[in-house]
Amino acid sequence: MIEVKNLHKSFSGVEVLKGISTNFEKGKTNLIIGQSGSGKTVFLKCLLGLFNYEEGSIAYDGKIFSQLTEDEKRNLRAEIGMVFQGSALFDSMTIAENVMFPLQMFADQSKSEMEDRVDFVLKRVNLDNAHNKMPSEASGGMQKRVAIARAIVNNPKYLFCDEPNSGLDPKTAIVIDNLIQEITDEYQITTVINSHDMNSVMEIGEKIVFLKDGLKAWEGSNKTIFKTDNEVVTDFVYSSELMKKVRQMYIEEKQ
């Protein structure tokens, strides 16, 4: 579980996060949603320790990140898996080498044990025969799956995903969403996903935190987001014609 209390972050005097408090639960897919510029990416980078923050605290299973020593932070980071928006695969390495990389850096395993583990996770993300391909030879969906495989290869306790289905077609996006949810449930990981994709919200939003102008505007789940009267949330959720029709049908069904 990740607990965030009163998080403040500024850039050159401009406050981007204005006191966010929330919890991200273990074994659930937790979504951070909001418009572009609402502070989602900054929030995620603060959670990952890539940005320092001025005020507030972030606790990973009770361990407050800012109070940890450098060694403790390094150990904690070894328990974190991250899927970047652009996958961030190392383009000088093959797909198998990319997935093996965290094991080589942190795990005390023999080469054959590492290879077995790589085979297992690549199979888990349905990439059985892509070991020797270079990232540039893989499609966007494949690259995302490799990034997920790399993120989970070291059995992380926390998984972070920054817009994991951006740039993907709707069908592949759903495959990626479902894969993340299955892995979260299977390995009881605390998963935090940064997204503005309404399909993801509906599919896997077991917990949703809605950000607006650096503040938490709403908190709930995919079951409650369509029932909320919060205008800020409804403006965002029902901004497309498709979603407006869905809402109309929902209201008519209710009547």
């Binding site: 990952l48 320790g49 890539l50 450098e70 932070k73 390094r74 150990n75 904690l76 980071r77 070894a78 974190i80 991250m82 970047f84 928006q85 652009g86 961030a88 695969l89 190392f90 383009d91 990389f101 965290p102 080589q104 850096m105 942190f106 972070f160």
Partner: protein
């Protein structure tokens, strides 16, 4: 103020580069890969340039010595001195700032733009140690490349001299043996070691701390070449004054 900030950030980067070392088994592979990319991959251009510039120095020296009182072996002597003291260590390093420096800046800059450096940091890896230290260690073999450059420069001068008919082979060989000072070689290699460190770290700094997208990677490569050249020229002056000045 920006210059002062960047100079401070550069020295902090160097300190940070030695913290949280990467596993030796991984570091070893990175060093060998960088030796291949930065040293072995540069030997061809160093050999080509050295050989022909050696020839040009010889021809120009020969053409400027018209006085019959000046001995012919001076052509070989001047070529040797020019190549060992200045051309091989300094001018080759300026050329390498373009070749190796641009490669380092653009490869690290692209990793920054595509979030690969963020990925390393999130995994708890000291990205400066992982990316910059192997390049710095690999470039400590740079003096070997420069030694080859010195040899081929003198050989190129000899070829130009003999085949161009400027002096005889005996005069040229006598020239390169005349007033040979071992300290000149030491001075040259000390400069080369310093330049090797600059060639690894200044382009890495520009790549690592760049902001923006693909266009900025190109701009960072150009800026890195300019600054690496400027610093090499300045350090060259300071070291020469310290080591050869009266």
């Amino acid at each position: 103020m920006t210059y002062l900030h960047n100079i401070g950030a550069y020295f902090l980067m160097i300190v940070e580069m030695f913290r949280k070392p990467t596993k030796w088994s991984v570091m070893k592979k990175l060093i060998f890969k960088d030796i291949d990319d930065l040293i072995i991959g540069s030997l061809g251009i160093i050999a080509f340039i050295s050989f022909f510039v050696g020839g040009v120095i010889t021809i120009q020296t020969a053409l400027n010595i018209n006085n019959p009182l000046i001995p012919k072996y001076l052509v070989g002597f001047a070529t040797k001195q020019s190549i060992i003291l200045e051309f091989a260590p300094t001018f080759t390093s300026i050329i390498m700032a373009g070749k190796v420096g641009s490669f380092i800046t653009s490869s690290i800059g692209t990793m920054r733009v595509t979030e690969q450096i963020d990925a390393l940091e999130v995994m708890g890896i000291n990205s400066l140690n992982y990316l910059v230290l192997p390049k710095t260690i690999a470039l400590f073999l740079y003096p070997f490349a420069i030694a080859i450059g010195m040899f081929l420069g003198i050989l190129g001068g000899m070829a130009a001299c003999v085949f161009g008919g400027y002096t005889s082979l005996e005069d040229y060989v006598l020239g390169i043996q005349t007033d040979f000072e071992a300290f000149h070689i030491i001075y040259s290699f000390i400069k080369t070691f310093v330049f090797a460190f600059l060639l690894a770290t200044i382009p890495s700094f520009h790549g690592y701390y760049m902001k923006g997208g693909a266009l900025e990677v190109g701009k960072a490569s150009t800026t890195s070449f300019v600054w690496t050249s400027v610093v090499i020229i300045l350090i060259n002056y300071i070291l020469t004054d310290m080591m050869l000045g009266s």
